[in-house]
């Protein structure tokens, strides 16, 4: 459903992405892993129009995404949970969720989505009137994911959902990611936590300094020493 070919991004003189190609098929979880500065976040930002690629092509269900503004890309059914969650801290949990459904104007649809969300994230219903900024890290991450789901995306981009979370919380997020995928939502998971990412994903891509160095079946990558090497330098 998503095909990325030779994607390049420059920041001034610096080439942050040097021609990345990958694909995501329906209902799958694909993960992009790699150390800091490998270009993972940049690739997601390029997909949703937050940075303009300097070259390459991105096609989503046969529509080219290059040159579209973020709100147009969201409309096509792609939701992006950015690095650092980026909630609206001075809005309540409920208002944040409503912002997620910004493009869904049907009241009935929103109510049903909200019910679905509350089913998966009961804590958010409990904290509905609390300001998003006052939530704990794990709750914030849940809210960020839930907010993205409010737009009923076909493809969900998750940028470092486990960052700064305790192992228990990380496991919880992992479970949620599986549940979401079970709702027929494809997922691109960007993670530094390679174990988490490869356990969840079906297919993985390993990035290093803006280029692809390794790709393959997640289970195989999990066993691959190359991954460990890329991380720990062992």
């Amino acid at each position: 459903m998503l095909e990325v070919r030779d994607l390049k991004v420059r920041y001034g003189a610096v080439e942050a992405l040097k021609g990345l190609s990958f694909r995501v098929s329906e209902r799958s979880i694909v993960s992009l892993i790699g150390a800091n500065g490998a270009g993972k976040t940049t690739s997601l930002r390029a997909l949703t129009g937050l940075v303009q690629p300097s070259g390459g092509e991105v096609r989503f269900e046969n529509t080219s995404l290059v040159g579209l503004a973020p709100h147009e890309i969201v409309r096509l059914g792609i939701a992006h949970v950015p690095e650092g969650r980026r909630l609206f801290p001075k809005m309540t949990v409920f208002e944040n969720l409503k912002m997620g459904a910004y493009l869904r104007t049907s009241k009935a649809q929103m109510a049903s989505t909200l019910a679905m969300i509350y089913e998966h994230f009961p804590i958010l219903e409990e904290r509905g009137r609390q300001l998003a900024g006052s939530l704990s890290g794990g709750e914030q991450q849940m809210l960020a994911i839930a907010r993205a789901l409010m737009s009923r995306p076909k493809l969900l981009l998750l940028d470092e959902p486990s960052m700064g979370l305790s192992p228990i919380m990380t496991a919880e997020i992992g479970k949620i990611i599986r549940q979401i995928n079970a709702l027929d939502v494809s997922i691109i998971l960007v993670e530094q936590n390679a174990m988490l990412a490869l356990t969840l994903a079906r297919y993985g891509y390993v990035l290093q300094t803006g280029a692809l160095v390794l790709q393959g079946d997640a289970q195989e990558l999990l066993q691959d020493d190359g991954v460990k090497k890329a991380y720990l330098g062992l």
Binding site: L50, P70, L87, F88, M99, G100, Y102, L103, A148, S151
Partner: protein
Amino acid sequence: MTAALLVQSAVIGLSIGSIYILMALGLTLMFGMMHIINFAHGAVYMLGAFAIYYVYFQWGAPYFAAFVLAMLLLGAFGYLVERSIYRPIKGGVEPTLVALLALTTLLQAAGYPVFGTLDKHVPPVFSGTRNVLGVMISVERLMIIPIAGALVVGLYLFINKTRMGAAMRAIEQDKEAAALQGVNVNVINGLAFAVGFALAAAAGALMAPIFKLDPMMGEQPLLKAFIIIILGGLGSIPGAILGGLILGLIDSIVATALGAEPAFLLSFVFIILLLLWRPTGLFGHAL
């Protein structure tokens, strides 16, 4: 200063303060979202007053219809300014500042050939005086307070209860995250220009029947609005409301006791001291 004089100047201060609040709200809204100070706000106030002059006085439309029309017209103008000046400059703070200053000069200078050189007036909409707490206050001054109050409440509801208002608050907190929820940031910025301009136009339209009209009439309210948004904290709507009330009272009570210039000087000294004490105003947060 007698008690009666104090009450009288306090009520007048509230009414003037209400106008200042309308001016300041738009400024603070636009700053919160785009981090720009709209130097053209005074010129928009002036255009709002002249819209009333033509639509209500010259063409005979009912006052409230003219009032709404003035807000709509200048709101549309605000959207146009976002499209044709703010957006092409792509958020550059300094070029935007110069462009808005140039726009102000242009609107003021064009005012003389277009509106004529003589001071214009708009006949009073409300007449008579009322006894308020034992002193006589003109009804037209009093009426400003509920009308401005209604607009403030309207703005509050718009920002807090509507989808577009939510988009505005979202942009204020995190522009990129807002875009990722599907908010068309350009359009909502344009909307903020429109709302800010419409509020300034409303202030001008409210003042038109009370004061006189000339192309430079917006300069003083603009400076007052600057003081208010700094006082209350840039980007803070409650701050703008409180700041407007404080300044309105200073302007009226101190001016009655000591004269207009000392009052103006006092308000400047006051904000310099306030900022040294609290560098982001009463309700401001770090930038």
